[in-house]
């Protein structure tokens, strides 16, 4: 397996610059020829929601920006299923949230034009173990 830089984005967009920092670090790394994989974890999964209207606070739309990742050769994009499930549970009040991961994606219509793989904890461990470097934002 080739060496790759794993970038973990763990913050919701807009309330701080973490989400943009992770995004720009990823683009910057590909500019110097590194292979980059991108993981959304924790509140970072909120960046993927398609119904974002940040124009009112004069921000660029994070979901739209993320759709451009493949144009910068970042095609391995992952979403932590547990992070999504926990948040779905909080929003919907339903228990046994693991089962609702897919429903979350459909209901809240996560950007459908960005192909992301949903990974469980075990897959996540492998993803991190095989990374040559990890940057967490």
């Amino acid at each position: 397996m080739s060496a790759y830089l794993l970038i973990i984005s763990t913050h919701a967009p807009y309330h701080s610059s973490f989400a943009m920092d992770a995004y720009e670090a990823a683009l910057g790394a590909t500019n110097v020829g590194l292979e980059v994989r991108f993981l959304f974890q924790g509140n970072g999964v909120f960046q993927l929601l398609s119904a974002q209207t940040p124009a009112g606070i004069q921000h660029k739309n994070m979901a739209k920006k993320l759709k451009a990742l493949p144009l910068f050769d970042i095609e391995d994009i992952y979403v932590c299923s547990k992070s999504v499930a926990l948040r779905f549970e909080a929003i919907s009040g339903q228990n046994h949230a693991q089962n609702y991961t897919n429903e979350f994606f459909e209901k809240i219509s996560i950007s459908d034009e960005l192909e992301a793989q949903i990974v469980n904890e075990q897959e996540l461990n492998i993803l991190m173990a095989n990374a040559s470097h990890i940057l967490r934002f």
Binding site: G28, K60, K64, K65, K67, A68, L71, F72
Partner: protein
């Protein structure tokens, strides 16, 4: 890349005059408000750049505007080439073709003519 080029000799201006209207420019000389754009804006910028626009130029200009609306990002060259390749195929989506159309830098000039902000520089 830019350092090797002579400095722009045009007088620095904060407004672009288009059909009697003065449109605000940003500090890079790009249109400050994306909504101010019209084809006349592209023509005015093209005149500044000494560029005679043909259909191929317009195709790129319209494409980068669509790109901006889709991705909220002004396309840098690599993303522009890749996106154009996906839409138009390798004949159009390659940097040689684009450089022939916009010799001073396809991403830099096409985004300017299209009324977008200057693309963020690579590291």
């Amino acid at each position: 890349m830019e350092a090797s080029k002579p400095h722009n000799t045009l007088p620095k201006q904060d407004f672009l005059k288009v059909k009697g209207r003065e449109l605000e420019l940003d500090r890079h000389g790009y249109l400050a408000n994306y909504e101010d754009w019209s084809e006349n804006v592209a023509l005015a910028f093209a005149e500044q750049e000494d560029l005679a626009l043909n259909d191929k130029h317009w195709e790129v200009i319209r494409f980068v505007r669509e790109f901006y609306e889709t991705y909220d990002t002004s396309p840098a060259i690599r993303a522009l080439v890749k996106a154009m390749k996906e839409q138009f195929g390798p004949e159009v989506g390659n940097s040689r073709y684009l450089h022939r159309l916009f010799p001073d830098g396809p991403a830099k000039i096409a985004t300017k003519l299209a009324g977008l902000p200057k693309p963020a520089k690579c590291l």
